[in-house]
């Protein structure tokens, strides 16, 4: 592949004799490992599994919506399908996607540590995730839940007789998994940085994950207690959310969204973190406005806690407080804009190449801009009245979550694939799949904006025939999209055996993780590194490479 930067060690690269992958063999050495890289791989596999399930459910949704009446499945089946789709995709796929896989793999490498601060807790958090996942799967197999992913009371507490408590407990476990991941990251970033690694020498990837961890730690427990209260309400009939007993169903909304709005930033900040690395590497340039990008991550995390009520604008909250929250929502949108502009400016006077991760990153920028700006529609009070609970919302959040985060996730997986496995993915076909994904995505979700403005309500198993045209487009797009996601699932495993050997630093990137062998040793660094330059210092890298060429080859 001509576009891959050629390297001193690329031509002669061999897989290292010893690495974290072959340090020990056997199932047990994986299931009891404390190594953050192995745990990341465990996560990668389990997350992919749940993504496939969630994706198949999405396929069912789209098939059902091909025609107006609910002909493929009964309405309550449909309700279970979209609820499980939402629950699985959010709690079992998107929340852990980048942080638990790529983040887990990279944070210690990037701060120059041998492992995360608490390896056992890291492993525990994977087990919690798996337990949560199994419980949710059990809920699905035993008959499903049909609450939607939002568990709206009193519907979920008193009017449904599906496995609400089971699903809630599954989410409870998955939530604690996410808390422990966040805890580990925060402590690692504060306490395990190598000598010379000051805060402002940290890669932006670490900043993004630091901000994410803040939300995980402070937001997730509120979701946990809310779900416990829902479960108690269902099982022993306490009445805090039940209007007939004097409780307040809006209180549930407040507590739920106190987590779930910040959670959408759990779902995007790690993606943004990936994009910073990718853009910088492939334009061979320092990220424009490093401090602004770093601080905007933290700003998003902090301001993210102040805006949850924008999900409740027509639910009977006080109009004055709606005003406050609308204003705050406008403020939280600004840091995202700052990031987008800084990334665009990073390209200016760069030396740009277009490897697959970069294509995904471009996809991210475009789609997230649309998704984010349509968020402004929803934050605008008067407009939200018309748009809320319609397909406009569905389009908005798929643009930010699928167009944004999922693209970033794929960018990250491709970008660090050589580091994780020691082998390159096939560049040609992966570019094709990036482009297929992009096209499929637009065809799937763009029509949903129009549908939303036309007024098609979300969570409808059957809809009036007026809306069919756009729905057919959407379904057609989803099949293209499915292929776009299927391809990496085929060629990435293929490349494990047949891929070209990557060498230490196939992208000529500056991060610490690229200066060691790929795949890395179990202990990451043979001796603790000393950071003596800024992040994204390409001159330092050039000098180093030159030095290596002189001494090695």
């Amino acid at each position: 592949m001509s576009t891959i930067v050629s390297l001193p060690d690329q031509a002669t690269a061999k897989l290292p004799r010893k690495s974290y992958l072959n340090e020990e063999y056997g199932i047990k050495s994986w299931l009891l490992t404390g190594d953050h890289k192995r745990i990341a791989m465990l996560y990668l596999m389990s997350i992919t599994f749940f993504f496939v399930i969630g994706g198949m459910l999405a396929g069912l949704i789209r098939l059902e919506l091909l025609t107006p009446p609910s002909d493929l499945m009964a309405t309550d089946t449909y309700n279970k399908v979209f609820s499980m789709h939402g629950i699985i995709m959010i709690f079992l796929f998107l929340v852990p996607s980048v942080p638990a896989t790529i983040g887990n793999f990279l944070i210690p490498l990037m701060v120059g540590a041998k492992d995360l601060a608490f390896p056992k807790i890291n492993l525990l958090s994977w087990y919690l995730y798996v337990i949560g996942g199994i419980i949710i799967l059990a809920a699905m197999v035993l008959g499903g839940v049909d609450t939607g992913w939002t568990f709206t009371t009193p519907l979920s507490t008193h009017y449904l007789n599906t496995h609400v408590v089971t699903a809630a407990m599954g989410i409870f476990f998955a939530g604690f998994s996410s808390i422990f991941t966040g805890l580990n990251f925060i402590v690692t970033v504060h306490r395990m940085r190598c000598p010379g690694m000051t805060w402002f020498r940290l890669p932006l990837f670490v900043w993004g994950h630091y901000a994410t961890s803040i939300i995980m730690i402070l937001g997730t427990p509120v979701l946990a207690i809310t779900l416990v209260l829902v479960a108690l309400e269902r099982t022993i009939n306490i009445g805090v959310f039940d209007p007939t007993k004097g409780g307040d169903p809006l209180l549930f909304q407040h507590l739920f969204w106190f987590y779930s709005h910040p959670a959408v930033y759990i779902m995007i900040l790690p993606g943004m973190a990936v994009i910073s690395e990718v853009i910088s590497t492939f334009s061979r340039k320092r990220v424009f406005g490093y401090t602004a990008v770093a601080f905007s991550s933290v700003a998003i995390a902090v301001f993210g806690f102040l805006v949850w009520e924008h999900h409740m604008f027509i639910m009977g909250v006080s109009q004055y407080s709606a005003l406050v929250f609308s204003l705050l929502t406008m403020l939280v949108a600004v840091p995202s804009a700052i990031k987008i502009f800084n990334w665009s400016m990073t390209l200016y006077k760069g030396s740009i190449t277009f490897e697959t991760p970069m294509l995904y990153a471009f996809g991210f920028i475009g789609l997230f801009t649309i998704g984010g700006l349509t968020g402004i529609f929803l934050a605008t009070l008067g407009m939200d009245i018309h748009l809320t609970e319609t397909y406009f919302i569905v389009a908005h959040f798929h643009f930010v979550m699928v167009g944004g985060m999922l693209m970033a996730y794929l960018a990250g997986i491709h970008f660090w694939w050589p580091k994780m496995t020691g082998r390159m993915y096939p560049e040609g076909i992966s570019k094709v799949s990036a482009i297929v994904t992009f096209i499929g995505f637009i065809v799937t979700f763009f029509p949903q904006f129009l549908l939303g403005y036309l007024g098609m309500p979300r969570r409808y198993a059957a809809y009036p025939p007026d809306f069919q045209v756009l729905n057919v487009f959407s379904t057609a797009g989803a099949s293209i999209l499915g292929i776009g996601y299927l391809l990496p699932m085929l060629y990435l495993p293929w490349s494990l055996i047949y891929g070209k050997i990557a060498g230490n630093n196939p992208w000529q990137a500056t991060g610490l993780e690229w200066q060691i062998q790929s795949p890395p040793l179990t202990e990451n660094f043979t001796e603790i590194p000393v950071m003596d330059h800024e992040a994204y210092d390409y001159e330092w890298l050039a000098n180093k490479t030159q030095h290596e060429v002189q001494t090695v080859g």
Partner: protein
Amino acid sequence: MSHISPVLWQFLVHWLKQFAIFPPEASTIAPYADALYFALVGMTITGLVLVSSMVLIFSIRYSKDRHPEAVQIEGSTLLEATWTLIPLGIFLVFFVWGALLYFRIFNAPPDSMNVYVVGKQWMWKVEHPGGQHEIDALHIPVGRPIQVTLISQDVFHSFSIPAFRVKREAIPGRYTTVYFQAKTPGKYHLFCTQYCGTQHSGMIGWVYAMTPEDYRAWAAGSTSGASLAQNGERLFASMGCNACHSGDAAARGPSLANIYNSRIRLADGSTMVASEAYLRDSILNPSTHVPAGYAPIMPTYQGQISEDGLIDLVEYIKSLDSNYRVQQMMNKSEISSAQEAPVGNTAPAQGVAKP
């Protein structure tokens, strides 16, 4: 075109006919909402064009072939300030614009005609003050502001009329209101947009916006005989309310005449306006707001009256208010034909002191 099969062809034609990208502007609010929408679309397109042209131009101009050596740039405070402040300014404009529209939609003008809507799994029950009941349908005259007072009997529902660009949640245990004024006669979708269980997607109906004449004819034709206030009066007697609320000075309960929309002094010294919500709550949770000078002896009717019954009672108590009566009469005389007796004339119950 011969190679396109006839079925497919029909499908295409059908589609093209059905194709629309925004719903009819059938209410007075709709143009305002659409204006805001197009402004927002404009902002999105501007933003997108700006960002994507930056990305495109730079990646062409500075691709590795053309620009092999990257120039390292730190950043620029001036630029950061620009792209912080300009988007912020734009967003704030939309905040103000949106807020104005929000208050407009949720606060009805005082002379609007009131319609009650009760949501339950999975139907909309509409009750007109004149006593017309409908299910999953709403008949309204064009050209009159209409206030819909919503409540739910079970779970959250959401009352949505896309053609009017309005929507409001029906909440269990609390009244919410939304207001609109239809512009063009026609038949429009009515959706439940809040997920409410199995038949959520079946909780749909139609809104019929009619010319005032048609509406009058419809109202006269479909009245059930008794207005809501009259039903309420009957309930008031049958539930034994008049035992205490007889209006006498010696009665155990306060007189309910003229209390609607008046300022009530409560036993704890605060005051409250007796809105519909207050009246409803006084019947279900009497001890949460005890008017000054009375003992909290009124029993709770929680679980004994349906939401429909509560609406009847509330309408009855409202009809005891002379101002409201006059207004209702005006509504009536404007809308309903002369043969139909205005509610106010029959409303005052025996024994209730006239103001």
